[in-house]
Amino acid sequence: MNFEVQLGRTIFPNPVLAASGTFGFGLDFPRVANAIGGIVTKAITVEPRAGNPPPRIYEFPGGIINSVGLENPGLKRFRAEILPRLARLKSRLIVNIAGFSIEEFGLLAESLSSERVDGFEVNVSCPNVAEGGALFGQDPKMVERVTRVVRQQTDKTVIVKLTANFIDPVETAKAALAGGADAVTLINTLFGLALQKDGTPFLGGRTGGISGPAIKHFALFCVDRVARAVAIPVIGCGGIMNGQDALDFISAGARLVQVGTASLRNPYAPLEVWCELRLLCRKNRFKNWADVIGRTGRSS
């Protein structure tokens, strides 16, 4: 069976990617990076960011909450120091870009449209500083504008990473489509608050983002909903720990999947998910991958 997926001009050799922020820049585990469908880098911002004070991670049964706070070396150092080292990876490379204004998104896409980069994942889960700090991703109009600006700056694959916090992702997926995106990723972390026994916030960043198995069924709901309502390829993400989870997202309508939190437990997780997915396909005797994608929606 052929598992290749094309989004924009990029052909992913298989449908399992490493999710943003949970696989560094892909340099630490080249064997994994080269064997899976591709890697999405940690978010890159125009200016370097130190990130949030510790603790940055809270664990609860079935999930974690992180408040890394977009720590990253910034556009310049990423281009000068990290991008050249990424040349030695063969894998598809998607750069996750996070701006605090529409212009910053444009600048990031323009500056990073180098040969090595296959595409961008537009991270709209950051506050729009110019307009009162509401998150870009919670305003369909902003999502469309951001997507359009990125689209104008690059002919690389453009993926918009949507949030499902307090916004119907169908609306933002339509906006991303209108803005010219090649795909959307669903979902980014859910908002979360963890407290210490004395009632004060546990995380240094006060609140954080929930990921892991606890958000899987909400993410599946979102993928199913968007895949049936919007004519844009969906990349599924949220609590994928094994091949069956990946298959669930694909059944629900995802063309590709991303493995996040699982890589924290085991940096080989994306590769293991891909191997297990392939085994499941053999066990289930699937004939045609296209029949599997979105079968949930066609079943009812």
């Binding site: 922020g21 949970t22 696989f23 560094g24 630490d28 585990f29 940690k42 130190a50 990130g51 949030n52 004070p53 510790p54 603790p55 940055r56 991670i57 809270y58 664990e59 049964p61 079935g62 999930g63 974690i64 992180n66 890394v68 720590e71 240094g204 892991g212 198995p213 720990m241 939190t261 890589s263 924290l264 437990r265 085991n266 940096p267 080989y268």
Partner: protein, 251 residues
């Protein structure tokens, strides 16, 4: 760094809540250096998602020793792994301690903090003059005294209640010892207040400390283990540490 399954060959209870286990892990034993740690998968199913970091306390032949205190679900689970079972672990992780030559060395451990210092002291003692201070709340909570003795280093013991050795804290005793030494390099491991106290008591010294912070991955890919640098920004403790020059960070 490798993912490996290591068989537990021995489990020992050292105090009420401190356990020691020996693992059969030839490659790890050969490659691990003082200051490094392993990240251990704990529990079954998805209840405990993250691994638990534990420092390498000692190495002997093909075996690796881990010593840990029970503080929550993960370490409680670890204390109950029966002999003969396999542990899923990633390691060795972290940056090895650079071993100096021909220096006066002061090693200071508080509570379970003595554990990683055992492996370190073994290596330091080859080419340096090592003085070891071990502290604990009381005699009952003191660990590894015999092991350190066998290394033939000069040892000092402090307990808060005076039930063994000098009465006082490890850092108080460390200050007294340091004053007798020639520009000693200090290596300290223990609770955060102990590390802070040592830094306060020994200004001008080169002090390396085993720092701790909540970790996500232990392998450097998640940026969760931030430790603040004095000159701004954070280091990744699992990569740039866990042993760091305390003079340069904000604990």
């Amino acid at each position: 760094m490798k993912q490996l399954t290591a068989t537990v060959t021995d489990v020992q209870r050292l105090t009420k809540d401190i356990f020691s286990i020996w693992l059969n892990a030839a490659e790890l034993a050969q490659t691990a250096k003082p200051g490094q740690f392993v990240n251990i998968r704990v529990g079954e199913g998805e209840e405990l998602l993250l691994r638990r970091p534990v420092s390498i306390a000692d190495v002997f032949g093909q075996k690796v020793r881990l010593i840990f205190r029970i503080v929550g679900k993960g370490t409680a689970w670890l204390s109950q792994v029966p002999k003969g079972c396999g542990l899923d672990l990633l390691g060795p992780l972290g940056r090895p301690v650079r071993i100096p030559k021909g220096r006066d060395i002061l090693v200071c451990g508080g509570g379970v903090g003595a554990a990683p210092l055992l492996f370190l002291t073994r290596r330091l003692a080859r080419q340096n003059r090592v003085y070891v201070v071990l502290g604990a709340k009381s005699r009952k909570e003191m660990i590894l005294v015999r092991e350190f003795k066998r290394l033939r280093v000069k040892g000092y013991i402090a307990t808060n209640d005076g039930s063994l050795g000098w009465k006082g804290t490890a850092s108080e005793l460390a200050e007294l010892v340091a004053n007798e030494l020639n520009r000693p390099i200090v290596y300290a491991c223990g609770p955060r207040p102990m590390l802070q106290d040592i830094v306060a008591r020994l200004p001008g010294h080169e002090i390396w400390g085993f720092a701790e912070e909540r970790m996500g991955c232990g392998t450097g890919i998640c940026h969760c283990c931030a430790l603040a640098r004095k000159d701004g920004g954070y280091i990744r403790l699992c990569r740039d540490g866990p042993v760091v020059l305390l003079n340069g960070v904000r604990l």
